[in-house]
Amino acid sequence: MGEGQLSRFFSELEAGRLTGGKCKNCGSIFIPPRPLCSRCGGEMETVNLKGEGTIESFTVIHVPPVFLKEAAPYILALVRLEEGALVMGRLLGYDPNKPEEVKIGSRVCFQPLREKHGEKEETIIAFKPA
């Protein structure tokens, strides 16, 4: 059975590594990796990402999806990685009830988060203050 690009991305994530796809044509980086560039359709190659970047936007989820009922409120952020890619993740290390303390532009680094999603446990992308 062949392993798909996405299941490889998630097994890398389980192991604490963040990977992306870099376009051989326009240089754009997308997470997760994919066969064709979502900007120009060019061929992509998988690259390792350092996981360091800055907060580009954030929100605090007070009304969560059912599978995260117990986790709310939690902070979600869009992080601009040093390599240029934008990625969504959970933001740790801040108080969700004090959103005014989170500043757009603050430096953060990648930290995989293991979390119970209903019956199963999954690893998701998260960030903490650098």
Partner: protein, 413 residues
């Protein structure tokens, strides 16, 4: 383009509501809207004889009603079989896809009369299940999985906008204040109360007197945070409803009415589904592409638009819409809203029916629900919310999801 023209000869919709339709199914709502549309045809129409095809938008009937195959189901309940019938889906713009399909089917010369419809029966599920259904429109692997909800995605856009332009949540509250006022004048709206009326009612219950609308929005526990900085009144409600329109070719239109609406231009656009795959978080590229195509095909410019129905699923979406449509410049929405440019008596009234915020947002019905408002305003039948100087040109703008789909249509009298 459209040498022979594509016309709207009838339109109808149910009330959009969170309660009224509790005991009904989507198919019944659809029939109700069609009955009204048939009545709206000035010279009459024989639905079964005249209509040659039916296209229906419905986002997630699988979730709400354990039902797929909506296209022929609509035909079944309207007595239209064996005519061509299928469902269109681009999330919250699903009925705009039906409208697009109907228009192109007529413009191609294949049909003279088609029915286009939209419906969503949402209140059959608990709010948290509806939240899940809506989340199906986001990128499951990179957004839903980390806990993004739809209010959350738009909150991320709002924060990016506030940061770039120095705008504030307080300034954004002009959107729900305006839309609830318009909704208070619309007998088809989900909420037919202005925010000051709601503030008075809530205040009485809590034994508090709110100074004004902003005092209520800012300080009432009723306006709780959903996804910071967006609160309850920044979000459209969960509604049941259906909306339909009857389209006809140039050679058939006058058989039905002497005052049809003429399609002047249209455009569709797409964008990467996940916010993290987009270039700009302070604008929706799909809306800009759709608007550009609609202006190009109509030969019109933003200044030619007399009224617009735009996709305000969340307050910030209305600001992005008026900017992406070129009705105001980038970053100028806060000032335009302070000046009342888009109010009922402003230069470009926006969401005269109350918008998704107050009129309601039965997802699959929304696009053609917007067309119903343009139909009323341009034909001068909008009652208490009729624009004073009767509008000649109306635009509808409907977005799918957090902006991965967008449709813009321009109609004239």
């Amino acid at each position: 383009m459209f040498a022979e023209g594509v016309y709207v000869v009838g339109a109808g919709m149910t009330v959009f509501s969170g309660k009224l339709h509790a005991g009904k199914t989507g198919r019944e709502l659809l029939v109700e809207a069609v009955e009204e549309a048939v009545k709206s045809v000035d010279k009459g129409i024989d639905l079964q004889k005249d209509v040659e095809a039916v296209f229906t938008g419905y986002f997630t009937p699988e979730y709400y009603e354990h039902q797929s195959h909506i296209g022929p189901l609509a035909a079944t309940w309207l007595g239209l079989t064996p005519k061509p019938a299928f469902r269109t889906e681009i999330a919250c713009a699903s009925s705009s896809a039906a409208l697009f399909t109907g228009i192109t089917a007529i413009a191609s010369g294949l049909y003279d009369v088609v029915l286009v419809a939209g419906v969503e029966k949402m209140t059959s599920l608990e709010t948290e299940r509806v939240t899940e259904a809506l989340a199906l429109a986001s990128d499951d692997l990179s957004e839903s999985r980390v806990g993004a909800t739809f209010p959350g995605l738009y909150a991320l856009l709002a924060q990016a906008y506030f940061h770039k332009y120095g705008a504030t949540w307080e300034q954004l509250q002009r959107v729900p204040i305006k839309n609830h006022y318009n909704g208070s004048l619309n007998p088809k709206a989900h909420f037919q109360e202005s925010i000051s009326q709601i503030a008075e009612k809530v205040g009485k219950k809590l034994g508090v007197k709110y100074e004004d609308e902003m005092d209520f929005l800012k300080n009432s526990p009723f306006n709780r945070v959903v996804a910071y900085p967006l609160r309850l009144f920044d979000c459209c409600p969960i509604s049941d409803g259906a909306a339909v329109a009857i389209l006809a070719s140039g050679r058939a239109a006058r058989r039905f009415t002497d005052t049809p609406l003429r399609l002047l231009g249209l455009g569709l656009g797409s964008d990467n589904v996940a916010l993290q795959d987009r270039v700009d978080l302070t604008s929706l590229a799909a809306s800009r592409s759709a608007a550009e195509a609609a202006y190009r095909t109509s030969g019109l410019k933003p200044k030619d638009i007399d009224m617009a129905e735009v996709h305000d699923c969340f307050t910030i979406a209305e600001w992005l819409a008026v900017e992406d449509l070129g009705l105001v410049g980038r970053g100028e929405a806060p000032k335009a809203y302070e000046q009342g440019l888009t109010s009922l008596d402003g230069d470009i009234p926006v969401n005269t029916d109350g918008g998704l915020k107050a009129k309601g947002h039965p997802v699959g019905a929304t696009g053609i629900g917007m067309l119903n408002e343009v139909w009323s305003q341009l034909r001068g039948t909008a009652g208490r919310r009729q624009i004073k100087n009767k509008a000649e040109v109306g635009l509808i703008h409907n977005v799918g999801g957090s902006g991965a789909s967008a449709a813009v249509f321009i109609f004239g009298r």
